[in-house]
Symmetry: C2
Subunit: 435 residues, 2 copies
């Protein structure tokens, strides 16, 4: 019976004999009379002690060993295995183009991504994605508890909801379709159907040509939409609840993972602090950003651009003790056509800015058919071809709204990663389509 | 404070006054002195009783009503609301092209799919997708309990893993990429990384030109892959555990949903019966299918085709009491290049056939680099361009395997739907790319 690395100490304490471990050779240390191997499995690292008589296969080879365990506080996990048999299940070639057991927090991003199949073997890199799995789980669980239904909608659409630019074209038999930029129409369709509350975790696509540390051409969107809200404020409260749950679950399950990136500042905010995050209007946010910019002799801020996002978070951390800010009441011109108006100039919309970057955009949506029809021309959109979408509102649609959290951005900010691509298993950008 | 339809009886029993309900007008019945409305919300249906003085908006309009509740065993939920105020939040147009409150189990599939935004309002159609959400939840929860990590991999790939045919082409800036047919390479990469056990719930694409009740060009694949297995038999045991959990959760949460399709035979097998499902070899399966075919004076069966899938399930239901069959030991020629050999002719592979249709294909994978290289030419595949994939095996890869469950097929069979498209929220086929 195989035992996992993290279970060895318990097995040692119980006095179990002839224990079996399987995993990857993470590190080899030759020392006088014996060799030491650090073995890696899905649960972590564990030390093996081997007599010199054993041939040690190259790093990253997969082995199964048997032996008796001994407590040893100096080893990872607090126990080691004295090996009495070794079987090599898969011998690694010696020409490995990536050092798996290096400190990857110091390795350049290009090497890490070019050698993705190998860099994913590094425990610090795995830590990012084990934690990302916790984010998805916590997001989904929190919403299910509030009677949201999980949905899976098509990623092949006949047009864009965000204005028709930045779409990837797909050859679909004898016609062209596009990769969905968001499940916006579909979320609204399902809210209007009477499901009322829906969420989706799925890829989203933006054919943006610029290549920045903030952008991915394919990202995972944590999307939700809900009926019977009066304003974006209820959505902000919901997002606070979601983020608090995510941070709570990460603190509970992934403290070891965060520890590996400690020197990058990896951490999650106190869950309770999330509820104290300030909600400020777009106008206030621009004002605060300008005050912060002036202090640093920076340029004048006219809009919530990346500089402004950093400034408002610095302000919030200093003044409110958390670097999470909700900005609401964006001007009409900054939001999609389907955003619900607050007045002639402003909208019931919001962004969430976490540690200097926008992680969420959302708001209440227009649910009135006549108002929706009226607004389209002002956004240069023709109602022709929008019939399916418009029919949502024509036949009874409750007041509703929603938002999306960018999974990779949230993950990157938790780990203190400087590039969002590091938080995508197989990132896609202008140049990168492999592996 | 809003009360949900299903909570009204409790509120009535507690003697609450001036209760608020919100939802869609599902049905209107005019009767002498009063009108009756059946109101639909996310929790179900509830009856409203209104004085004639109220103007009743058209069907599907969204309203908020207030009033006192009264117990009434003849109504859905066992209580009704005597309305004392009615507000119309969204008035539906009267020219509705789909009758939402009809018996959709008798409506043709084309009308249901053409009018998807409206047909999704029907409780029986919603039932399919509420139950589908339970499948996703149960699949994910079961695997997390067994230390599987959830992954999200790219759907844009530079080539296909299933032989390079049936790929949808995407215009990706100045080059062409393809929509992923499965996360096969990525699952294997992550298993080989040391994560060992991974799962993904994501869209998969097949550019198959034929349009059948069994096929979707875009479907949701419940994928998993795990390390340190010896044969496909461990995967079959795992799938039995997963299916038993899914059926258990559906029986617990969605009995009301199944009830709406009772006359189509909607049901889930007894969870415990799943563990008794027969595992037969490909050779046996062909033999059984031929025996069944002969009984019905059918044609000779040479392969596990759709007819054979139906026949082996009929056999299993009659002989073993469950219409679920696992077929293993498929001949080499029927399986992808990466399948692990059992001997010169057969492979460690399997399919799961449920109620007459294949819902799963999987198996142990080749993990040996030299053996993988050797087999490629026999499948007409050149190692050039496969370097990323092959590097998985070159640098230490444990024995492993996995499988995928087709979400829509499983859902369709649970509800007794004759076309898998009915189990996709927004299905894509040769002709259909909207809504």
């Amino acid at each position: 019976m195989r035992v996992l690395a993290k279970e060895l100490k318990n097995a040692a304490e119980r006095g179990e004999k002839n224990i079996e471990l399987s995993g990857w050779i993470h590190r080899i240390r030759e020392l006088g009379a014996v060799n030491f191997i650090v073995l890696r499995d899905r649960s972590g690292l564990v030390q093996l002690v081997l007599d010199k008589k054993y041939d040690v296969p190259p790093l990253e080879s997969v082995i199964t060993v048997r032996g008796d365990a001994a407590l040893n506080e100096k080893t990872p996990g607090g126990a080691e295995l004295r090996v009495s048999s070794l079987e090599c299940l898969s011998r690694a070639a010696a020409d490995m183009p990536f050092q798996v057991n290096a400190d990857v927090t110091r390795t350049g991003i290009e090497a890490v991504l070019d050698q993705r199949a190998l860099s994913l073997r590094n425990p610090a890199i795995q830590a990012i994605f084990k934690t990302q799995a916790t984010i998805i789980e916590a997001f989904s669980a929190y919403l299910r508890e509030q009677s949201f239904t999980e949905i899976k909608t098509s990623k092949l659409v006949s047009g864009g909801t965000e204005g028709g630019t930045n779409l990837f074209e797909v050859e679909y038999f004898d016609r062209k379709v596009y990769l969905a930029q968001s499940p916006q129409c579909y979320k609204q369709t399902l809210v209007a159907s009477g499901l009322e509350r829906v969420f989706e975790v799925a890829p989203a696509y933006r054919a943006e040509k610029h290549d920045t540390p903030r952008h991915l051409n394919e990202y995972v969107s944590l999307d939700l939409e809900m009926a019977f809200i009066e304003s974006e404020k209820e959505l902000i409260e919901l997002e606070k609840g979601i983020l608090a749950r995510i941070f709570e679950e990460i603190a509970r399950k992934n403290s070891g993972e965060l520890e590996l990136w400690k020197k990058n500042g990896a951490s999650v905010p106190e869950p309770s602090a999330v509820f104290t995050a300030p909600v400020i209007s777009y106008e206030e946010a621009v004002k605060i950003a300008n005050e912060e910019s002036a202090k640093k002799k920076g340029v004048r801020i006219f809009d919530i651009n990346p500089d402004a996002e950093r400034y408002v978070c610095e302000w919030a951390l200093r003044e409110k003790g958390i670097d999470l800010v909700f900005i609401n009441e964006f001007p009409r011109r900054h939001r999609p056509f389907y955003t619900y108006p607050l007045d002639a100039a402003l909208t019931m919309s919001f962004d969430a800015i976490f540690r200097g970057i926008e992680i969420t955009s959302g708001g209440r949506r227009q649910h009135d058919y006549a108002a929706q029809l009226e607004v389209l021309p002002r956004f240069g959109i023709k109602p022709e071809g929008m019939e399916d979408y418009l029919s949502i509102f024509k036949y009874g649609c409750p007041p509703h709204g929603g938002f999306a959290i960018g999974l990779e951005r949230l993950t990157a900010k938790i780990f203190g990663l400087s590039n969002v691509k590091e938080a995508s298993l197989f990132p896609r950008d202008r140049k990168r389509v492999t592996p």
